[in-house]
Amino acid sequence: MKRKAQIEIAGLLIIVVLVSLVLMFVLTFNVADKENQGEPVKQVKESQIRDNFGPVLLETSTECDGKTIRELLADCGSVREIECPGPDTTSCAYVKTVIGEILKETLVKQGFAYIMSVKKGDSVIDTGNMYFENDCNPDGVSSVPSINPFETDYGTMKLVLVQCS
């Protein structure tokens, strides 16, 4: 009688273990699936913004004699001859204000974390310090940088946009 009871308990234990194993298996797959769901679409959406932003920004006209941002950056990184209206008369100060304004109305409003910089050679151009950042943890850089090189009379410059996590 006692032996029979022991066998029944062992049988119940086996059923419980089997049910637990099945549940764990199902849950593991579900969690893994949910983590991956929507990731590719999200990445495409973000890359659309990241990859288009730089080229569009460079061609944008400003109210500084109709010059584009590209022309003002080129001037800022070289001879600095252009004078702009308003309190920021140098091309460096003016273009920095304009880029900051555009970023505030677009990427910042959408909560897009980024680092944007304009470089000449390997260093961020010193005059004007063209470095913009929103909510970015330097360890959390999550994308391939979008690099937009542009030619000037004084060498190649590049506008770099990196997305952060």
């Binding site: 029944e8 059923i15 049910v19 099945v22 199902v26 579900n30 699936d33 949910k34 769901q37 929507g38 679409v41 999200k42 495409v44 959406k45 659309q48 913004i49 288009n52 932003f53 080229p55 569009v56 920004l57 061609e59 944008t60 006209s61 400003t62 109210e63 109709g66 584009t68 304009v98 304004e101 555009i102 109305e105 677009t106 959408q110």
Partner: protein, 179 residues
């Protein structure tokens, strides 16, 4: 004594069957709820993919593309062509909306100039966004408008070219896809 033992054993078997049945039912309920959740997520994913596709279609529309910056590879739309398309779609006598319904489906497409500041409607600086296309849901039997359920929105930076002033405006193309 034996009859009593037999009854206990029968009860035991019935209890086991009931427990297993409950476990199976719980399992089915759990699996079904997971499936429903997955289907909802899939639907959102499809809507998001649609919003990207529609954005790319808008960017490639020959009716509104600008000729000046096209060689640079930028997404450039002509301000006046965009205005003309918006008015054409809104004009119910032309039936153009039927043609664009096939392309843009259940979505709303609008464009928001960011910099330099321009007046989309001359003399009215309060209008900040121009709607190019908006899907009109069929009316309810009582004549009321069905509520649109917005699922997802996508943004694309585009260049808006003003040929009269010869200037490029930084703008955001906004795509909302409805359920």
């Amino acid at each position: 004594m034996k009859t009593k033992l037999g009854q206990i054993q029968n009860m035991e078997s019935i209890a086991v069957v009931i427990i297993i049945a409950i476990l199976i039912v719980l399992g089915i309920v759990f699996a079904a709820s997971q499936k429903i959740e997955t289907a909802d997520t899939e639907a959102v994913k499809i809507q998001e993919a649609d919003s990207i596709t529609i954005g790319l279609k808008v960017a490639g529309l020959r009716e509104i593309k600008c000729s000046k910056n096209s060689e640079s590879g930028n997404t450039c739309l002509d301000l006046y062509r965009v205005k003309a398309l918006s008015e054409t779609i809104k004009d119910t006598t032309l039936d153009a909306d039927k043609y664009y319904n096939d392309i843009f489906k259940r979505s709303k497409i609008s464009i928001r100039p960011i910099y330099p500041k321009i007046e989309l409607v001359p003399g009215d600086s309060t209008i900040k966004t121009m709607t190019i296309y908006e899907y009109e849901l069929p009316l309810n039997p009582d004549g009321t408008i069905k509520e649109k359920q917005q699922v997802t929105r996508s943004f694309f930076p585009v260049l808006l070219y003003d040929p009269l002033e010869d200037k490029n405006i930084f703008a955001m193309l906004e795509i909302s896809v409805y359920k």
